[in-house]
């Protein structure tokens, strides 16, 4: 991983951590219990986005082709 990307990732993780800390200080109104726990959105966002990438990459492996559509 090149340097700038590593830096960016670290900065983002710090921001995320700060947001999670801040989450302990506001009153959460969860609708399904778990989504009201502090930091829920952070880990759910990480898992959700990772799942999205995995799903898309898997789908791409199956159905992505390098050539353009013949009739485009």
């Amino acid at each position: 991983m090149e340097r700038s990307r590593r830096l960016a990732l670290m900065a983002l993780l710090v921001v995320l951590a700060l947001l999670v800390v801040a989450d302990f200080f506001v009153e959460d109104h969860g609708s399904f219990w778990i989504d009201g726990t502090p930091g829920f959105a952070a880990w759910f966002g990480l898992v959700g986005a990772a799942l999205a990438v995995v799903l898309a990459q898997g789908w791409g492996l199956l159905l992505r082709r390098t050539e353009e559509r013949a009739d485009d």
Partner: protein
């Protein structure tokens, strides 16, 4: 006849203006192109809410103009989109596209204000024609024909459904129903085709990018959202919509994450966002329906803005493939800003219109305890931010490019249109209460509360972390992703050679028999083709033969 139309309808204003447009020239044409959407938007607000006038047509009580709250929400959104699109397209030279765009916008208004099934269907068809011409006028006839056929199919399904519904109930009234009979299923299927629902979602990403830089702006606004409107009117709370919507949301996200072409990426994301609306319509509660309408409203604004930015890039560089673009931010600051505002709104970043509407949908899901859909759509939201909020701007605008293309500054009218939409999106995002008169149901939804904003920021920053982590995986690659449209775009081309390959092994063994058989087969297919081309060139004897056959058949049957 005329007086029974009563007050002037926004649909009529736009359609008449569209018909007149080719007849006027020069600055007058541009002025008309802009004035008609302004007049239509004004009419949307000037028309008093009420049941509308009943026009008797062949014994059917038609209500072509029935202004209600829902009509006003969608009418406003369609009106703003038409106005912004017309402003944006001022420098478009192709008059066919401009005329068709106005008619298309008028048909969308007609659908919003239609008070009965028959008027609805009429505008539905006009919309199909208008949009087809918008695509066609950019020159890709095959794609235009594919688009037209899909929409004719949708129109047929809807028409068959309406005919069955009318003959069953005897009335053309618009009423909320469940898909519980064949006719209603047909109606639902016809509407879903236009909404871009599976299995025919592929038409959106096939057709929209084929239009010109200005045409796509119009296309992105009307057809799918008009379908959402009709679903709100006819099938609120239909459980099937929940699943259709979820499938579309996932489909749009996956295909957009893989896509290389900006406008096709945005088209996939239309399907994804309409999926959110369909889930809300499927819930059916008052709040959910209002949220669906509101999300359609916001989506029309930000998707038009994104398509404008994409069109500006296309016009400036002649290119919309992410893999060939990069580093445009410095050269095109305004386009960059527009794309970011649009993308952030789609990803529901706080202080944008998309945040307001998506919050309303989530609140509706929570209120109905639809846990599965709530968690699934939250995850899809995170994924959506990946493709539109991060991947698209990074690869198109910010990444250091090897050879930065030489962009030209967009015309003033394009900039003005983008600024207008940016302003609207941010204003709604910062002051969500301005929407309460339009959509009173959302007054109780928590939008800019600290916990809610914090929740959303965590989600977005988490998605950003993933983006940076897996950046190489998301690098755009030229190519295409297979979709259901493979069945009609490529299968026919493949079947014939494949068939030949399939029969090759047996050929050696059958060499003796094969030649005459093949000769006969090809002679047959040649004859079949010739038969169609020369359908009229029968010999007289053949006609006489058929006449005799028919008589013989008649008499035989009679004798039996």
């Amino acid at each position: 006849m005329t007086e029974s139309f009563g007050p002037l309808s926004p649909a009529l204003v736009l359609i008449v203006a569209g018909l007149l447009l080719p007849l006027v020239r020069g600055w007058l044409r541009n002025a008309l192109f802009l004035a008609a959407p302004v007049a239509a938007l004004a009419l949307v607000w000037l028309l008093p809410l009420g049941p509308g006038l009943v026009v008797d047509w062949l014994g059917l009580g038609l209500v072509p103009l029935a202004p209600d709250q829902l009509a006003r929400i969608f009418g406003t959104a369609f009106g703003i989109a038409a106005l912004a699109g017309a402003l944006y397209g001022q420098s478009q030279e192709n008059v066919a596209e401009k005329a068709a765009a106005l008619i298309y916008a008028g048909a969308a208004q007609g659908i919003a204000f239609a008070g009965d099934l028959a008027s609805l269907f009429v505008f539905w068809e006009v919309m199909a024609i208008g949009s087809t011409v918008v695509i066609w006028s950019n020159g890709d006839t095959r794609a235009g024909l594919r688009y037209a056929l899909i929409h004719v199919l949708g129109g047929i399904l809807l028409f068959a459904g309406i005919a069955a519904e009318v003959s069953a109930s005897g009335s053309v009234a618009l009423q909320a129903v469940r898909a519980d009979s064949l006719g209603r299923w047909l109606m639902l299927a016809g509407i879903l085709v236009n909404a871009g629902a599976p299995p025919l979602s592929a038409w959106v990403a096939d057709a929209y990018p084929k239009a010109s830089w200005s045409g796509t702006v119009f296309l992105s606004a009307f057809t799918t959202k008009a379908a959402v409107l009709v679903l709100i009117r006819l099938f609120p709370g239909e459980p099937a919509l929940l699943w259709f919507g979820l499938a579309m949301a996932v489909y749009g996200m996956v295909y957009a994450l893989l896509e290389d072409d900006i406008r096709r990426l945005l088209s996939y994301s239309i399907v994804g966002q309409v999926g959110f609306m369909l889930v809300a319509v499927g819930l059916g509660s008052e709040l959910a329906l209002a949220a669906a309408a509101l999300h359609a409203f916001a989506h029309i604004l930000y998707k038009a803005l994104l398509m404008m930015a994409a069109g500006a890039i296309l016009k400036a560089t002649g290119e919309t493939r992410l893999s060939a673009l990069g580093g445009l931010a410095a050269a095109m600051p305004l386009v960059t800003a527009a794309m970011l505002v649009g993308a952030f709104s789609l990803a529901a970043v706080p202080l944008t219109a998309g945040f307001v509407s998506k919050s309303a949908i989530m609140a509706a899901l929570a209120a109905d305890h639809a846990g599965l859909f709530w968690f699934a759509l939250t995850a899809v939201s995170a994924g959506s931010f990946l493709y539109v909020g991060l991947r698209l701007p990074w690869f198109a605008l910010f990444r250091p490019a090897g050879k930065a293309p030489e962009p030209r500054d967009p015309a003033w009218s394009m900039k003005a249109a983008m600024a207008l939409l940016c302003g609207a999106i941010l204003a709604i995002g910062c002051f969500p209460s301005v929407l309460v008169p339009l959509v009173p149901e959302i007054s109780g939804v928590a939008i800019l509360t600290p916990d809610h904003v914090l929740f959303q920021l965590q989600l977005l920053v988490a998605a950003s972390c993933i983006f940076v982590m897996v950046l190489p995986l998301l690098r755009p690659r030229a190519g295409s992703t297979l979709d259901v449209d493979w069945l009609w775009r490529e299968l026919p081309r493949k079947v014939l050679p494949a068939w030949a390959r399939f029969t090759r092994p047996g050929r050696a063994a059958l060499a003796v028999l094969e030649d005459p058989v093949r000769a006969r087969l090809s002679a047959f297919s040649r004859r079949f083709a010739a038969e169609l081309v020369n359908a009229a060139n029968w010999r007289t004897g053949q006609i006489a033969f058929w006449a005799t056959t028919l008589i013989a058949a008649y008499v035989l049957i009679a004798a039996l």
